[in-house]
């Protein structure tokens, strides 16, 4: 709901700060949710935190005027992928309370590597784009524009993608068969 307000607000001249505020809220939610996701001791909780992160990311798409991508994110990620993951979690007997051995004992190496990457990336992002601004007019792009682009310029990747999905479908069935 707030995201929708923010998107409408962003279209007005005075609404920039709303959009900014909304973005920082979303970013905070996403990062906190992400951190909780990788540290929590409960698999289902992790999945739910991921859900929160994905919703927040959908919110940032809305700010960027990518309405169709945002809705697709909700439909595919929240509606399909997350349900599938939760399904998988439950099928593999997730315990109700926490589990101790979810993390590797040498996770500090992972943390070190991740922190190192973050440092390098932040530095290079800052060097490269400094204070460059996004265009002021972020009117949501029409679905038709997206579809026109997919079915003209990107028709070949699109077709390749359909083949990939088919292969994944068959692959998943073959891998998970019970015989």
């Amino acid at each position: 709901m707030i995201g929708l307000l923010a998107q409408e607000a962003a279209l007005t001249d005075t609404g920039e700060w709303i959009a900014n505020g909304f973005f920082y809220a979303m970013a905070a939610v996403a990062i906190l949710g992400g951190l909780k996701m990788v540290t929590t001791a409960n698999v289902v909780h992790a999945a739910l935190y991921l859900l929160v992160v994905l919703s927040a990311v959908a919110g940032t798409y809305v700010i960027l005027g990518a309405e169709f991508v945002a809705v697709t994110q909700v439909l595919i990620y929240l509606g399909a992928i997350m349900v599938l993951l939760l399904f998988g979690v439950m099928l593999t007997r997730a315990k109700l309370g926490g589990e101790e051995d979810l993390d590797h004992e040498q996770r500090w190496i992972g943390a070190l590597v991740a922190a190192g990457m973050l440092a390098v990336m932040s530095y290079s992002i800052w060097e490269a784009f400094d204070t460059q601004k996004l265009p002021g007019d972020r009117t949501p792009q029409l679905t038709q524009q997206v579809s026109d682009e997919i079915f003209s310029t990107y028709i070949v990747p699109f077709e390749a993608l359909s083949v990939l999905l088919l292969a994944a479908l068959i692959g998943a069935v073959v891998v998970a068969r019970r015989d």
């Binding site: 590797h104 190496i109 992972g110 070190l112 590597v113 991740a114 190192g116 990457m117 390098v120 990336m121 530095y123 290079s124 060097e127 026109d148 003209s152 028709i155």
Partner: protein, 765 residues
């Protein structure tokens, strides 16, 4: 579609001719999904769809004929109608045919753009250089064909495609009806009908294709369907082998097809359109050499699809499928695809092989070879279906030969007549085997059947007589026209003097009559040699037989020479109707060009000669078998006679039985031969050259080694080696711990290294 706005209204059927392939295609889907639940297991859907498609094909045929008659009356200039989406342009072809008698209908092309790459959306491409917009509205949008990559999908209606629409829907309808009895109770009854429908749909799709690309789609679909249907009873190994063989042999030719189409695409200024390619080939815009290469490549496709020597081997094996499928494959759909393609791109072949004025070319030669070679093989078969299969090979060779000598109409006319009597013969063979407990062996399980199944017998005899070219049945007219078309017989004057094809043709005429007589004798005369009691088949089998036999009698009269018509005092309009209807403007347009092909003049003498040969050969064979079975009524093999007594004949017989050793050539010599000698050569090289070198090196090094051992090795080297060995071993032991097999740790290393590398790049440069 947009009938109201059209400048020149096409007849409804021309715009909606796509319905004809769409109906069987829809039937395929419906049968697949709902077939098993229906009272007749899906057969009713197929038959209904085919009935509707046949009705539409009839409408198309009569509309087309009406157009031709109208054009003939008005003697107007010819124009091609090119419809594009909704608007239409009338095209005046440059070569309007005043010089060559009545103008004929030009192809009606209906195209919608399927998709384009690299051009703006909605760009319309009329892929024809000779196209000149009269309508004006769309004229500017007729983009250069070279600006990007557009694929149109559409239909092309002309005499040739209308003729095949009629034949395919007609035969397929009869085959559907026939199959309801013949495969009754089969475990994959529903699937059988589904694929029968799809087979028909793909063939119709190919027939109506307006571009080479579309034709390839249809061509491959036909191939896939034939694969499925030939292997219908795939549980038995030979059947699935036959299906694979058909499919793989066809792939060989498909390579040629793809290359040929690609060459033509670029040669014709990036166009797949038949009309464009043909017009450019005729007008000389594509160089002779290009056309020759393209024609040779396409010829490979024809050889595989239409069973020409030396790629014909799959065709007799394809008899493994159910008999109605064989009928459909041989009469109407698959094997005529190649012949149809030659006709469709005839200018390419005509120019590419310089058919006019020469006396032999690749196409005529392959056709002639096939017709004689296939005919000879038919003599030694025991399987009635194989006789017919080799007969088909032979007759296809006839058609290709006809097209090769420039007798275009004669070739297509033979395709037309052959469809009816060959379908009749195949279905008859099916009926016979139905009676003889599903055996096809003429010698072991048949004989004397004329008493038990008179309807099958008489229709089979009519079909055989038509095939053998006994006047006045259908085969006579078309075969005679081909013989005349070679132009080698005195006084006929065709496009060249093709003496060798004429001789081949005459030999085949005699052979055809001979092996068909043999077949009839073995099947229907003498005493019954099988077991059980044969009986006449049911009405769903005999009715199609009777219809087809009737057609085999009458269709020949569609193309009587005018001399004959005058002789019988018939209306002069009855002469060469087929020629008027089928010969398209694309071909007609270059009849007027210098050195273009002309129609040969029929010769009574040649007709009498060919008929005499056929009758003579038939009589000789008849006498032979009569005497053979007089000695032993139950003979199932050659008890006596030249094969048993004469070494030379026996050798020839062996060659024929082994099918010219072609299968051995492919499996043993080519496939086996490549791997065998290569392996042997490698072995020899290994044994002699490499080993020799190694041995020599070894001997010399042993000497050297002894020397070195004493002085260098023991002292200096050993110490170093041992030290380095220990180092390697210990460092390996250490590094082994890195290789934990944990994907996670590899990922850690990877990401860590990436971070470090990135940092190095950022800060160092």
């Amino acid at each position: 579609m947009f009938a109201a706005e059209e400048a020149v209204a096409n007849p409804w059927i021309y715009d909606n001719v796509w319905l004809i392939p769409a109906l069987p295609a829809a039937s395929f889907v419906l049968i697949l999904f709902f077939g098993k639940r229906l009272p007749y297991k899906g057969a009713e859907i197929g038959i209904t769809a085919l009935l509707a498609a046949f009705g539409l094909a009839l409408i198309a045929t009569f509309t087309w004929i009406g157009d031709i008659q109208g054009l003939e009356e008005s003697e107007g200039e010819e124009h091609a109608l090119v419809t594009d989406g909704g608007t239409q342009t009338v095209v005046l072809t440059a070569e309007a045919g005043e010089e060559h008698g009545p103008a004929r209908g030009a192809p009606v092309v209906n195209e919608v753009e399927w998709f384009g790459i690299g051009t703006g959306a909605n760009q319309v491409t009329l892929g024809s250089d000779g196209v000149e917009a009269v309508d004006g509205a769309e004229g500017e949008e007729a983009a250069e064909p070279s600006s990007g990559f557009n694929i149109s999908i559409g239909t092309l209606v002309d005499g040739q495609s209308v003729m095949l629409l009629f034949v395919v829907t007609f035969i397929s309808l009869l085959v559907h009806v026939y199959s309801t009895d013949y495969v009754n109770g089969d475990r994959r009854y529903t699937h059988y009908f589904a694929f029968l429908s799809l087979f028909t749909a793909s063939m119709l799709f190919m027939v109506l294709a307006s571009s080479t690309l579309q034709m390839i789609v249809g061509w491959e679909l036909v191939g896939v369907c034939s694969f499925v249907l030939i292997g219908h009873w795939w549980e038995e190994k030979p059947n699935s082998d036959a299906a694979l063989k058909a499919f793989l042999t066809n792939r060989v030719g498909d390579v040629g097809l793809l290359i040929g189409v690609t060459i033509l695409y670029f040669a014709a200024g990036r166009s797949f359109s038949f009309v464009t390619i043909n017009e450019m080939a005729v007008s000389g815009e594509i160089s002779q050499n290009t056309l020759t290469i393209a024609a040779v490549c396409l010829m490979a496709a024809v050889m595989s699809k239409s069973g020409q020597f030396i790629l014909h081997t799959w065709l007799p094996d394809a008899m493994a499928g159910p008999t109605p499928v064989s009928a459909l494959i041989h009469a109407a759909t698959m094997v005529v695809a190649g012949v149809y393609m030659i006709g469709r791109l005839y200018p390419v072949f005509y120019e590419g092989f310089s058919i006019a004025g020469s006396s032999i070319n690749l196409m005529a030669f392959i056709g002639g070879l096939t017709t004689v070679g296939g005919g000879a093989l038919a003599f030694v078969q025991r399987d009635i279906k194989k006789v017919l299969a080799y007969s088909t090979v032979s007759q296809l060779g006839y058609m290709v030969m006809a097209l090769g000598v420039g007798a275009y109409t004669a070739g297509l006319f033979h395709l037309f007549t052959h469809a009816f009597f060959k379908a009749c013969l195949f279905l008859g063979a099916g009926s016979v085997s139905h009676a003889c407990h599903h055996s096809f062996d003429m010698k072991a399980d048949m004989g004397g059947l004329r008493k038990y199944m008179p309807k099958t017998f008489w229709t089979f005899v009519i079909g055989s007589a038509a095939l053998a070219g006994i006047p006045p049945l259908a085969g006579f007219w078309s075969k005679d026209e081909i013989l005349v078309g070679t132009g080698a017989f005195p006084g006929t004057g065709g496009n060249g003097t093709y003496t060798i094809p004429l001789i081949f043709g005459l030999i085949t005429a005699a052979m055809t009559a001979a092996y068909m007589t043999r077949t009839i004798y073995l099947t229907f005369f003498g005493e019954y040699r099988g077991h059980g009691h044969p009986h006449e088949s049911g009405p769903r089998i005999t009715t199609p037989l009777i219809i087809l036999a009737f057609m085999a009698v009458v269709v020949g009269f569609l193309n009587m020479p005018s001399g004959f018509v005058d002789f019988l005092r018939l209306p002069s309009g009855w002469a060469h109707l087929f020629e008027d209807w089928v010969e398209p403007a694309g071909i007609a347009s270059f009849v007027g060009v210098e050195n273009g092909f002309t129609h040969a003049k029929p010769s009574l003498l040649l007709a009498i000669l060919a008929t005499g040969l056929a009758v003579g050969a038939g009589v000789v064979v008849w006498r032979y078998y009569e005497r053979l079975y007089a000695k032993d009524p139950k003979a199932t093999d050659y008890v006596d006679g030249p094969v048993a007594n004469n070494e030379l004949v026996a050798a020839g017989h062996r060659v024929l039985v082994e099918k010219y050793y072609l299968d051995h050539l492919y499996t043993d010599v080519i496939a086996g031969g490549i791997k065998g000698p290569v392996a042997r050569a490698a072995n020899w090289f290994n044994q002699n050259v490499l080993d020799g070198v190694v041995h020599a090196a070894a001997r010399s090094s042993v000497g050297l080694g002894r020397f070195v051992y004493r002085f260098v090795d023991q002292g200096l080297v050993d110490g170093t080696v041992n030290a380095s060995g220990r180092t390697a071993s210990e460092s390996g032991q250490f590094l082994r711990r890195v290789q934990t097999g944990q994907v996670r740790e590899y990922a850690t290393l990877m990401f860590g290294a990436a971070a470090v590398l990135a940092a190095v790049f950022i800060f160092a440069f």
